[in-house]
Amino acid sequence: MRTIFYIIQKEFIQVVRNRVMLPMMIIMPIFQMLVLLYAATLEMKHIELFVVDNDHTEASRTLVSKFEGSPFYKLSGHSASIKEAEKQMKKDKTDIILNIKKGFGESLNRGEGTDVQVLINAINGTKAGLINAYSLNVLSEYMGEYAKDKGLYSEQFSSGSLDVRYRYWFNAELNFKHFMLPGILVILVTIMGMALSAISFVKEKEIGTIEQINVTPIRKYQFLAGKLLPFWIIALFELAFGLTIGKIFFDIPIRGSLFLLFSFSSVYLLAVMGIGLFFSTITRTQQQIMLLFFFFNIVFILMSGLFTPVESMPQWAQTANVVNPLAYFMRVIRMIMLKGSGVQDILRELISLSIYAVLILSLAVWRYRKTS
């Protein structure tokens, strides 16, 4: 135990003395929270709307003002020519074209079905899907109101209609930041934990100090534990720091138990740091290991459900996520923070990750060779 203490002491001194790393550790969470959280938003506002109105009736004007009145849309221009509208879309000046053809209002007044054309710039599929959803909402709202105002078909309209009540649980205002912040925290602690300890190990290999260590009777697990623990503490500290920033600036809810969150994070960190240390036993240079990290982290992050729901991924991807520690944490941190899930809700993940951590750390100890 005392041997491990001396390694921990040394690692801490080296971190504190590094003129670049220490500021980086403080700036990184602030940067990630304040900048990325604002950047990583799929909250739709300022959808650029281009209107082509060839109808010029009260009905069409009301429809346009209904769109304008919505906080999501911004009128970017209007014209009588669809050609002009398409040109604007080509230049990326507009996201959606609302094409109201002649006869729209008349058909409505006569009580017939009618159509409007909605053209959406769909290069970004996600965004287009959301714009479509918003637009359909506006249209159906309009339809209801217009019909009511005019006293038209009120009977038919209510007959066989639906009384739908929506309830958005855990995030009633659909605040996207509350969804992204836990995700960004996951990335923060992962990078801190995984990269720092493993790179500092490989650096000793590259510089040659590892030989002096290998010639001492230190046990393999002692050395790896000494490399792991300081950065484990630092990463947990970063998590606390990030949560504090989130609480102060974004009023992020923490509905579940903080103790549970930190306990789970501790186990999670052991697993990802185990992966990092395992990588460092199979690489020789820092360049190699950094490349490995980038590769695996990009894959891990994309598959973790940071951006898109895991449930919609193909089955093989969901199966592959068994070895992706980020997938466990991404899910659990949101459960604990946003839903207030308790220990019995996350028990399966907790146990899986504990086994994962034990396995990968053993693998790292086994693979680390003091004698080649």
Partner: protein, 244 residues
């Protein structure tokens, strides 16, 4: 005769097809300063790494301080010290912190460690510099500190792999004073070098060439048997001999 601290029989190390060391046989006795000479690439570093338990032999028997290098590397490591030609101190730690760190992982008690560290620092007259970073001190000092760290845990044998590479003659001379000092206290010294003048300071030397030991004896015997005035000439003659 005296107690054998190192015993090597038929030691061979291959890297793929390349034979780095070819059937070495030698022994080192307790208390002697054993010089392990040879040109660059002759296989010295490979051999020393095997003796220190950093690398496994391909075949042959090796026993160091009574321990077998195949099966007892960890006990062996407790009884030896090693100073590599690569620089082994942490540049971003101070002199004192480096000593404390290495002492700590050898399991030296806290109090004893503090006393030993201070004793070393006083010995080198570095009391005022003990809190300066290794990065900021001259190379000669670094090597002395690296040496003291290697013997901090009182090993039976100290392995020095080209300890004086790149330092000026005066510092080299001072370094050898240190070697004599620990040798006088009964420690066995195993040193590789390619400075032939340093070979003269050894009790016995072996000369390696292309993975084989081509000569092993006291410097005086070698000089007389090769009819040479100094070790440099001995070395040149051996090198020429193998060229033919």
């Amino acid at each position: 005769m005296q107690e054998k601290l190192i015993e090597v029989r038929g030691l061979t190390k291959k890297f793929g097809e390349f034979i780095a060391i070819d059937k070495l046989d030698f022994e080192v006795f307790k208390g002697e300063i054993f010089g392990f000479l040879g040109a660059n690439g002759a296989g010295k570093t490979t051999a020393i790494k095997i003796l220190c338990g950093l690398s496994y032999p391909s075949s042959g028997e090796v026993n160091v301080a009574g321990f077998d290098v195949y099966t007892q590397t960890e006990q062996l490591k407790l009884n030896i010290g090693y100073m590599s030609q690569k620089f082994s101190l942490y540049e971003d730690l101070t002199i004192y912190e480096n000593i404390r760190f290495y002492g700590g992982i050898y399991g030296i008690g806290r109090k004893e460690l503090h006393n030993k560290s201070m004793q070393l620092i006083r010995k080198f007259g570095l009391v005022n510099e003990r809190n300066s970073l290794i990065a900021d001190i001259p190379l000669g000092w670094k090597q002395k500190i690296a040496f003291s760290i290697a013997i901090l845990h009182d090993p039976k044998i100290i392995f020095l792999d080209e300890p004086t590479g790149g330092v000026d003659p005066i510092t080299r001379r001072q370094f050898w004073d240190l070697i004599y000092e620990v040798s006088g206290e009964g420690m066995t010294v195993f040193v590789t070098t390619h400075y032939m003048d340093e070979a003269e300071y050894c009790n016995r030397v072996s000369i390696m060439d292309e993975g084989k030991i081509v000569a092993i004896d006291t410097p005086n015997n070698l000089k007389s048997s090769f009819g040479a005035a100094n070790m440099d000439e001995v070395f040149v003659k051996i090198a020429r001999g193998t060229e033919k």
